[in-house]
Structure formats: structure tokens, C-alpha cells
Subunit: 246 residues, 6 copies
């Protein structure tokens, strides 16, 4: 297990609730972080916002001998998939389960029984580039779910959970344990934990400037052409917008 | 035409209405039936449950000489696509149209005029790994529709209906005429007709055990870890759940 | 810039509002126009109908020297993406922005600030085989949006707008400036401008015949088999339907 | 089993040996046959020309109960895959095995033991949109092999041979038993049997005209621009070429 | 038509013959040119090196009315595809035909008659992300050919040549007329014309340093670990290598 | 780092040189090992046989902060990619480098300088589901190379080596350090180390029986139908074949 060097506090997570994914992605890109958007991972419950710290689980292709190695749980009978339970038991409020299923979008990483633990842990949500078994049931728990697909398949003959809180790929993006996972209707963006604090004010200002600019141009029925990309005139509009808001 | 050796009775179909697709798939897998989930076939009307006996139609790539061979219908003018009508006319309550369109998801297998016949036949629904023309109109008939996609395209220049009630592939899965076709928001699972009766009690018990387990752990806000995969403790929880239910 | 030889009048556009995309595609196919349906372009706001004249924008893969060439806008600071603004400024009521993004479905062609201009121009809508940044925000403007995907990504490091009102491909279909762009829940069909007037009566008659046939067969609970493809009996049903309607 | 209405004689097959696949495809296209080129099927032995009559075998997705149905061969022990042997035993000189494996390019349709029968039958070759097991061994038999891929996999858990000499799809193309299968380094083209005789003279003339034109323009180091597509001047060049050849 | 601002002289092209594609790509990447490698474009004649200036041809999806617009050649009968001839007639020694076929790898951009013109023009070669008709014949001309595939298909019903020497995409990469096109067995890299001179010495030094390093470590049977990425010790090895070479 | 529980001796590896990949895959399948064939990994040097013990390297998507973490090599200047060197330095005769590049087939895992170390280590070869930079140069070292593709791209902006001798996926298959990696012209099969000894005699017998059967039926020009799948008659043929061989 890797301990994240920076633990992003709940208060900071809270502030990201109202920031746009696209804005965070843009600011990360300016710092050279150019692979932050997960491919092939979509919201199974459109409209829900996800913000949380990554608890990662790395799956591997299944194999009979691997199954024996990883199944050393309490009951010792049948297959217990210990690493998956380790990940779920380690979660708490503000944490997000991130399952690296090697992009196998229709293979199950778990279903409504397993992922019911996210509710009782009061955790933030669920992300995987694999499938979620009976996704339409899992979304009833009310937390945000982002996955490759909803599926009726079984995981075990295809993939096995292997390792908790190692750095993983998910949807082609690196996820380091503790990274901030941001989900909205465009999908999932990964914000490295050590940048979360630094980026917030820029993101908020960016979103507000966009808002100010939109109100300004829509009211006057004019083009945003002269104000975009942002320039001195845009700043003026933003400054006035802030004054009016008080 | 192939006659299914086992005709699944309506009463059995009715009982599968409340069983989970994922549960059926799991039980089939335990018996070595490992290709039962259709790839690339999704619900065009989320929320609708489909249960019914397969009436199959095999499409082939279109060719001018094939068009002449298959069009020998009543009117003799233009293209009558007789095998498609044969399939639709053969349907009744509890039957599902299953169109093997060779996975050509945006090619039309039929549209709202053709598939209006499913309504007047009081049949159970429509499944294809091809496209459904004007899918947003077809779903207004109220029956469940599972397809590769909704499309505005025309079938005839691309594919032709060729054969009724032969065994076919659909979404990479074998469908034998009379097989039970199960659709929910995770897609479509195929249950061989001769297994339908045998599997039902296991499926019901599995679904109920999951339900009992979920209620037990959610009420207590504890992990299902020790009870999953199912073991003796899970059985106890289930037995008590059944008693309480009476 | 290419001037379309035929400007389709607003009154004609209006009449296409109630015509089915599938019907238009079928009539075009009969005239040898066999590539009229955009692949991989779907409605981000299901239920909305799009009819309008194409204003095209051709994107190219990004490159530092190309960025310098195309950015020669008013402010001269930063990147102004002039051709995109040219396209948007050229639009008016009844016009549709058509962005050829070379099928890069998750790459942004613009977001809610840029495409807010479609609202103030009172234009008809937005089509691209690329992505729309923050698509869930853009659809709030109320106009129809058809795209490869909704995305949080940034366009500039990936693609650059290059040329306005040149003929382009979009979703594998030729779009000539001024062509009629038709969108519904099955996606987008392109109707060459010079055929718009000629095709309308056929399309209307076709849609009405289908409607008459459906009412006839559904009321009587009979098969449409003998009336489809359309024949003399179908025509009779249609004639009576028209009489009853008065 | 379907009997082809026209049996293409060996003498005609022989004459197609020197005709170009591209030319045949072009002539078929002019008659409205627009789906004649197999997608995803390539030569495992580049340089070998294939011409022969199709003996078709239709595979289906595997299922335990289907395995029992199709395995009713002589030995009765284990899996005999009778329909595959039926197809191979039915072949003779000038025949081509055409396996419809539903486009599963890495799934085995057979290997060097099974396809050794093509040698002892003195048949023309092997085509499938599935895989050929140990393709590098099969090509040592010396006959042309066209397949989705060479693979070490086993067929039976994935697909099962079901039906001999039914019309099938292969690589997205209709193949009717008896059709002429033409393979070269560009892949495989299907020529409907009833058109084989009619098309030959056109194809030969086309290929010779191209040859004449190429010699004419390459010798003079001039552009073929004025002679292509073929026109009266091209015909003159061709006539003179024929005279010179005697 | 766009005139390239910098015409890369033949002498410079000649020097790139012995430079590695990978090295050029690496040096371009250091300057921020990160999309220079064509996806899905491979050598049809492995072992041949391609270096030349791009003459571009932009194809569009075919449509009957577009066919009429572009076919206004000398003979006026049939389809002359004038822009394609314009491109080929404009070529000379050191020029490469670059066909933007929108990535349609099995659609023909031309065949052995059309591309015979590259021989009589003594031009450098042929690149397209579409298909080359009868590619196995075209490679017999002896020049390098890079394409999506070799195909027997016909171009006209699918794509039409539209515009000569406009900037295009090919394999997802921008190609500006006059850019240096570099092909080897790894595929095709595009070098913007204005960087060709500046980059050469760096590339040569890089390739030579690699060569020196390889000889040094292979002779001594030691790891290149301490010298790679290049550092002061590597430079010493290189300096001595140059001395020995004289 | 994980130590393999069983070290497969060189003598055993040697014996697998003449065993068919397909045979090994078949025997593994009978024991329930059903995911042993790497998808999308092909020989860059057809004709070369690979047998060796896996030394694994796990790559991750690149990120600026990850680059800093993994680059802590001797020189401290630039990027040293320590885990990749660790893997290569750990290799010896009979070992195979197995790079899990997450299936990114055109992204470089290394080139001819880096992989020259395989020669000086006298190791067995190279396998990756990523790309090999300048693959046509690497194959000149004479060892077998299996990869997603040959590529001119650079690895570092896309992927980073992270971990040595952890269990990984490669081409969708689990590879445990020390597993036997088998490559031939059909691709790569993974044989778990603990099964290597047990499987060998079965494989040899299977291959020999096939050989005997082929000789028997080819000589007599008869069908192998009655002897395949293997039965008592096949065994007799095999026994006689062994006697004749002495």
C-alpha cells in the first residue's frame, strides 16, 4: 500500500463540488498534466457530482492459481476476494473506490451487494473502467457511479482484485491513491492530490469569469468574441460582476 | 424451421419477470453456459423488463440476386421481404422477435410500420443486434426494445431477412428458437429453453438471499464481507428473513 | 468560402420540422444519395428536432505553426481561433453550425462560452463529429446539439479551426455549405440544398401514408403485411385517411 | 443443403486465374453488386492466387447443448464436429472451403490436421473470417489460405460448426454455395456463380486495356490522364496493342 | 492552392535519407510538435525509405452532385476526377503524393494506372490513410508506398478527390503542402518544411551518438544504463567515436 | 518484487522449443486456464521461436509528478527510468522481458539502445503489448521480438516504467514473474511456471500424435476424420509411428 503524501482535507473537497471538471482539466493542462480525463468511463446516474479521494484497487486477468493466492479470507471456503474487501473496508467519508479493470467495460468489478458497503461507509462514490454488475440497482443507493458499463456479467472468471492502494491506470489515466476524483456528466477527471489546494482559486476565478462573461454577452445579445480567450476587457467585466454581486 | 424441443409455458415466463438477469447469467455460468450475454445490444426503453420465447430471424448481407429469391410474397411487386413477415406472423403472446443482423448496429432490421405487428400480435418484445429504424417511434408501442442502435437507415440495400426459426447468433450469443430471452437495463441474457424450469428456484433463492443480506447489513450499517460469497451465516440470515416475511 | 448555389428558404425549413429523418434518408437513397447519415453523431438533448442550413467549419490537427497562422484576431494576444468566430458571426436564424472535427469524438470543438453565440444569433443548432465541451451546460441554451460526445477536454492542443464554409465531411458524410441539416433522436441526416424543395411533397406523402396505414392496421388489429411496401391497397387506405381528415 | 443453380465449370475457373480481383469487383459494382469484398480477411500466404467454388460452413457461438446436438459422428466419443467433416468430405478439385465464423478473427475454425483434408481432396483453398489454428503450418500445404488471423486458440469453447452449404456471410459478404471465390494479395472477392461466365470477357478486356495503356504511357513517359477513365483514345491504344501482340 | 513558404531543397531531402524517423519525431517533440506520426498508415513495401515534399490531395465523401462538380476534365465523358490528375501532374522529383482519405483504409484512392504517373514524374512516392487499389501491383513500380491498406475496391462510390495542395490531415496528422514526408518501416512522420534545415544537424548527431554508444556497449558487453539518456559520458564516447572514424 | 515459487530450469525451457504453442494452449485450457493467449501481440520477426522465463515490467500512464518519483537513477540528470533498467539488469540467459504497456500498441516501451541490453545479457527475448521503437532495428539483434507494433514514437510523454517483477497483464493475459513465455508465428502464449514440468510430456505426445496422423493420412490420401479428435485408432497409428522411428 502506498500512502498518499498529501491528504486532501474534506473542506477542500467540498469547495470542488461547484467547480467545473472542464476548468480543472484546463488548469492541469497548463501545468503539463495532459492525461487527466478517463476514456470510456461515463456516469451511470447523470446529474450526480462526484468529488473524493481515490482508494484504488488493481484488478488482474483471472487465472486459477491466482484465484487461490488472493482468496485467503476469513471463511476460507469458496472465493472471498480479499483485496476488494480490503479496499472497501478502508474507505470512509470523502473516499472514492477506483477500480482499474484494465478497460474491460462489460466485465463486472462488483454488484449491488459488494458496493452496498460504500453506503454504510458513507463514502463518496464509485469509479471503474470496468463494468458494474446490475448498475441500475447500484445507482439506487444514491451515490455517484461512473463505469465502463452496467452489466449482468460475473467478475471472477474474467478478472480478480489483486492490490489495494497501489498507483493504477483507470480509463488510461494514472490514479495515485489519495488523488482527487472529479465526476460530472462529461465523465471523470483526476486531480493529483498535491495540486488540489493550489488550483482551487484559479478554478473558481475561471468559472466566475465565464459566468460573468456569459451574463454580460447574453444580456446584450452580443458576441463573446472580443473577450475570449480572456483579456483585459474580460477582466473588467468580471470585476464589475463581482462588485454587483457584493 | 426448427421446432424447439421444450416450449416454455407462459406461467414460467411470468415467474422470470422478477428474477435478475445477473442471477440467471450466474446460474448458467455454473453449468458451463458461458456465452449468454449479448454484446452491443442495449435497451432503447430503459426500465422495461423483457421475458419471452425467441422467434428468430436470420438476416444476410444484401445482394441483388438474393433479393429476388426471398421476395416471393403475395403482391409480387416490389420487395416483400417474406421471411420477415413469416417471423412476425408466427408470433403470439409471450414471443420475442430476435433478429440476427450480424452485429450491424446502425443497419435497419425494420421500423415502426413493420414492428407495429408486435403490438397487434400482443407479443412480448423485440431484440436485435442490428438497428431499429426510428427507434424512438417504435418504443411508443410500449413493449421492450433492445437493439444495437436507433437509426434512420434503410435495411434492404444492406441486409435481407433470410430464414425463420433457425438457430442464430445475436450479439455473439447463440439463440435457439424457443429460448427464453431476458432483457433489463443491463441488456439481454439468453436462457436455453430446456433449463428454464430447473433454474428458476435457484434464481429466486439467490435473489431473495441477496435481498435478505442487503437488508441485514444496511440496517446494521455493517459490511457484507463475512457473508459474501454466500456461506452458512448467510443462510441463517436468509432463513430468518423468510420467517419474518411469513 | 463557397456560396451555396441554392439558399433554402425558411418556409421550406419550417415544413421539414414534421418530416421524419428516416423518410428523407429513404427518398435520397432512391436518387442515389447513399451516404447521408452521420456515423457516431448523437443527440445530446434527446427529443429536440433540428432543421437548418449548414454553416461549415473545418478543423485540422493542431500544430504550433498552424496555431500562429490561424490566430490573427483583433486582440493579437493569446489564441483567438478566428475561423471559429468567423463561422459563428456568419450565422443567423435557420443556420446550423457544422464542425468537421475529423471524427475525434472526445476532442472539444467549443464549449458553453463559444456556443452561447448560437443563442444570441438565434440560430438553429449545433452539429459536430467532435466533442462539445461541457455538453450538459450547452444543452441548457435550449437549442438542439448533436455531437460525438460531451467532454471536459480542451480543443486547442488537439485540433484547430481552419476554414469556414468549405465543403467538409462530418460523421463520414459530405456537407456542402447551405445543405439542410436534419436531426432527431436517430441522429443527423444531410439533405443537399438543391433537393430540398423537390423532396418535400414525397416525404410528406410518405409519412402520411405510414400514419394512415398504422391507424388502419392497429384499429383492426391486423398485419400491415399486405400493404407494405406500399401498393395500390395502401394508396386506397391513404386516400380514405385524407378524406376523413378533410 | 442448397444446391447452387449454376455450377461454374473448371475451365471457367482456370480463366479467372489471370484476372485481377479489382477488375471483377469493378464489373460487379456496375451491375449493382456492391458488397463483394470481404472485410478483415487477408492472405496468410501472400503471392498465392485463389479461384474456386464455395463450399460453405456456418459456425455458431458455442453452447453445451449445441455441442451435443452437432456431435453425432461415427465414433460417438468426444466431440466429432460432424458438419465440419461433412463440408471437407464434400470438397473436390476447384472447391474452396468458406467458413463463416461471424468475424471472430482470433477464434480457430480448424488447424493443420483438419485442413490437411483440403490437400488430399486436391481442393483449391481455404477462406474464413475466423482464425486458422497454426496458420504458419497450414500454409505449408501449398494451397492459398485467407483468414482473419493465424491463431493458437481452440475453436470448440468459442464456436461450433453447424450447417453445410447454406448461404452465409463471410467478412460481411454474402456467399452462396457455388459462388466463385477469388483471392489475391488484396484479399477476397466473391463472384456470384450465375455471373461468372458473363463477366469474364469484360474483365479480360479491361485488364488488357489497362496493360496496353500502362505500356503506352510508361514507354512515352506521359500521363495516362487523357485515357482514363477509358475513352475512344484508350480503345485505339488497346486495338493497336492487340495487333502488335498478334 | 497554398504555396509552401519554404521549399525544402533536394540536397536537404537527400541528407534525411539516412536519418531515423524516430530521431526526427523526438526532436520535433522537444519543440512542441507532438502530432507528427500517422496512425494506421503502414509501408506496403517494407525496407523502402521515403523522403519527399508533400503534394496534398483532399478527398471528400462521395455524392452524386459533388461528382458532377469535380468532373470537368478534358474529355467531358464519364468521370475524370480532375483534382487527382492536377495533383499528379503537379508532381516532380522529390515530391510525395499525400492523399487525405479521411482514414478510410480500405477505400481506394487510386490504383496502378493512376499511380503509374508517379513513375513517369520521377517523384518520390505515395502516402495515404486510405487504400491503394491493387497495392501489390503499385509497389512493383519500385517507389515507396505507405497506405491504410491494399484493396480491390473502387474509390468513386465512396470518396472523391476535391482539392489540391490545401493543408490536410492524414492519419491524424496535419500535412501542409511542402512538408517533408518521411517513411520507413515504422510508418510515416511529417516534418514541417520550415524546420527541416534547423533539425538536420541535431538528428545526425543524435543518430551518430546512438551508434557510438551501441558499438561501445556491445563490444564491452556492458549496459548502456549509465549513458542513456545521453550525458557527459555519452558525449565522450561519441567524441572518441568521431575521432576513430576520422 | 515477487519471487516466483517455481524456477523453470533451462533444460525444461529447451524442451519447449519444439512444442507447438497451440498444443500448450490446448492443454492449459483442459486444466481451466482459459486466458493464456495475448491479444494484439504479434511477432516482429516471423519465424523466430521464443521460450523463456518472464521478467515483468509494469508501465503506467505518464504524469509529471510520477516522472519525478521514478527517476532517481545514478546520474540524477534528465530522466533515467530506473525501473526499466532494473528489469533489464535483472535478466539473464533464458529470461524474457515482458512489458505491460496497458495495450497501447503504438507507444514506445523502448528502442534499440535500451533493448540492446537483452543481447549483452544473452537473454531470450522481448514481449510487450505496447510498441517497440524502431522495431526493424531491434530485430537485427537476432532475438525474438513480440509487440503491439513497431513505432517511431517516444515512451516518456505517454507511459512510464513503474514496477519490476510484479504480476501484470500483457495482451489481456496474466503474467506472473517466472512464467514461461512462448512465442511463435501465431503470437504469445503464457504457461504458468508451476505447470511447465507437468505439461511437457502431454504436449510432446500430442504433437507427435498429430505428426503421425498427418503422415498416415497424407500418404494414403485419406481423411483424418475417423481419427480426430484422437481415439483408439489414432493411438494405434501413433504407436506404429513411434516403432518405425525407433
Amino acid at each position: 500500500m502506498v500512502e498518499p503524501s498529501t491528504r486532501v482535507p474534506d473542506s477542500l473537497l467540498e469547495q470542488y463540488q461547484s467547480v467545473s471538471n472542464a476548468t480543472v482539466l484546463g488548469k492541469l493542462l497548463q501545468r503539463g498534466y495532459d492525461k487527466t480525463y478517463m476514456n470510456g468511463v461515463r456516469s451511470l446516474a447523470p446529474g450526480r457530482r462526484l468529488v473524493g479521494r481515490a482508494v484504488t484497487l488493481r484488478y488482474l486477468p483471472s487465472r486459477p492459481d491466482l484465484a487461490k493466492r488472493v482468496a485467503t479470507g476469513a471463511h476460507g471456503e469458496g472465493f472471498n476476494e480479499t483485496p476488494r474487501w480490503q479496499a472497501l473496508e478502508a474507505m470512509g467519508p470523502g473516499d472514492v473506490f477506483v477500480g482499474d479493470a484494465m478497460g474491460l467495460s462489460t466485465v463486472s468489478t462488483g454488484g449491488d451487494v459488494v458496493f452496498s458497503r460504500i453506503v454504510t461507509q458513507a463514502a463518496a462514490g464509485l469509479v471503474t473502467d470496468g463494468g458494474v454488475r446490475d448498475g441500475h440497482k447500484v445507482v439506487r443507493y444514491g451515490y455517484p457511479v461512473f463505469a465502463g458499463d452496467s452489466t449482468p456479467t460475473v467478475g471472477e472468471p474474467n478478472i480478480l482484485p489483486y492490490e489495494v492502494n497501489a498507483p493504477v491506470q483507470c480509463g488510461g489515466v494514472l490514479v495515485w491513491p489519495g488523488d482527487v476524483i472529479l465526476g460530472d456528466d462529461t465523465g471523470v477527471v483526476v486531480l493529483p492530490s498535491q495540486l488540489a489546494e493550489e488550483l482551487l482559486p484559479e478554478c473558481v476565478e475561471h468559472d466566475e469569469t465565464e459566468q460573468a462573461l456569459l451574463e454580460y454577452t447574453q444580456e446584450r445579445k452580443i458576441s463573446p468574441k472580443s473577450f475570449y480567450p480572456f483579456n483585459d476587457d474580460t477582466k473588467k467585466i468580471y470585476e464589475e460582476w463581482k462588485k454587483r454581486r457584493g
